[in-house]
Symmetry: C2
Subunit: 296 residues, 2 copies
């Protein structure tokens, strides 16, 4: 029998897929090829970890899923745009993503560039839709939070640091600084944006913020372990590319065994942060397990 | 003696330069190279036509320049990001912009990609700053307006249509459809966002919207004439590249003489739309002249 958690994740994934399919422009209106490529980039793939975190955080603050789903879609679109640009020849030059040819391979490079650009715009369009939070001023703060998590002091900045580090030896502090930007900022935004759709107290914000920071790092540690150990077929994207690109990773710094332990420590820290929130944080706890125990 | 209009444009240009310099992250904080490249892409160049339109539209609705300047900066950052991505090898592959090497030439391609991405995020960060409009709900609508003007049914969509049209013969209707998206959407956003910082009545919105659509097209007609006639040195960007790229333009469709006449007709239409607004629309009228009479 399917566990309650599995049923919940599947329901969330179906919901976010539906919202994304509705909010992405249809591929029969102009510019058709761009719209087709945007839908190709976003729909039908991925674990939707960021939307799951947003829904779980919304549970803590009593947010309505009908509102959280738009915040979740906005974050997922930012994530999707970053993958499209990241895979381009000027960056990682990768041909495979989520088991399918990457956008610049399936379409072409100019289209991939515009797909990423337009997905970012669409994320802010959706996050600014009327009525996502109880007050318009809260929602403006949500827009600013996502913009900062995406920009040069968030995700895009993390990618710049990553590029600058290729072939360099980093210590753990420098590696974590990179990941806090590259992956962590958007994971944190997922949690906080989901929570902001409900009634978020200051102590709850502090707890969720700490949880999100730990989960963001744990997510990256696990990703590094997966990249080092899994096959391309299982992963749905090119495996072993960090080592091939001579990129520093948790595995290259700590070894696989110690990296796994680090992921478990981060999970424990994340869950400890949730203690004051009681049973409303159940899905967030389950997601912490899910992130760390991803099978491969 | 400097004309009153020249003094006004110079004051607006100095103001927007100051706001952009303040809101762009300093190049001495990490990631330094990305921040340096963002500042390189944005500061010290361009006529700032979009900010000028925002300030002029703010005059109509009694908006405070201290508020309009942030909306103006947001639009200018979207424009700047589009130039950086447009110049990349995957798109127009251009080496010169505003008389300087383009970002991917001065820095590198991955940096140019991230600069564009991060400038777009920064635009929404700034537009969501507290207190730009009288009501937070108005400001949310402003965020959505800019997102739509930038995205696949606005500027990015126009670029996709432009790419799809290379080497094709278009009629005037198809050419205008492309430009309404590629340039027109952001010009329209400049005018409406500036106006939304004040008190915008429905009749004024309709008038400004019509003005903006005419000016957006006029701007593009003049750009095509400039591209066909000016030298690279005068233009500060590669001249004659539309013809070299076999791109349809107003000049290729209408010839230079008829294209100039079309620009004058559009200016007349734009100014007629402003009639109900009286003297408060003076700067918008002067900008219509400025756009059409750019010297070359």
């Amino acid at each position: 029998m399917m566990s309650d958690f599995s049923a919940w994740t599947q329901a969330c994934q179906a919901r976010i897929e539906h919202v994304l399919a509705e909010r992405l422009p249809p591929s029969d209106i102009a510019p058709k090829r761009l719209h087709e490529a945007m839908r190709y980039a976003v729909l039908g793939g991925g674990k939707r970890v960021r939307p799951l975190l947003a829904f779980a955080a919304g549970d803590v603050t009593g947010a309505a899923v009908e509102q959280v789903q738009h915040a979740a879609a906005a974050v997922e679109l930012i994530h999707a745009y970053s993958l499209v640009h990241d895979d381009m020849p000027a960056m990682d030059d990768d041909a495979l993503r989520r088991g399918k040819p990457t956008v610049h391979v399936e379409f072409d490079e100019p289209t991939a560039l515009l797909v990423g650009d337009a997905l970012q715009s669409l994320a802010f369009d959706i996050l600014a839709s009327p009525g996502l939070a109880q007050a318009a001023s809260t929602q403006l703060a949500m827009v600013q939070l996502l913009a900062r998590a995406s920009g040069s002091r968030g995700m895009a900045g993390g990618q710049a640091i990553d590029l600058a580090n290729v072939g360099k030896s980093l210590d753990l502090t420098e590696l974590e600084f990179m990941h806090i930007h590259k992956t962590g900022a958007l994971i944190r935004a997922s949690v906080l944006l989901g929570a902001e759709c409900g009634t978020l107290s200051e102590p709850a914000r502090t707890a969720l913020d700490h949880y999100a920071k730990c989960i963001g790092l744990a997510f990256q540690v696990v990703d590094d372990v997966l990249d080092a150990e899994a096959s391309t077929a299982t992963l749905g994207k090119t495996a072993g590319k960090d080592a091939a690109n001579n990129k520093p990773t948790y595995v290259s710094l700590l070894g696989v065994q110690r990296a796994r332990e680090r992921a478990l420590e981060l999970r424990a820290d994340a869950c400890a942060a949730l203690d004051p929130l009681g049973p409303s944080a159940r899905r967030l706890r389950e997601l912490a397990d899910f992130v760390v125990e991803r099978t491969f």
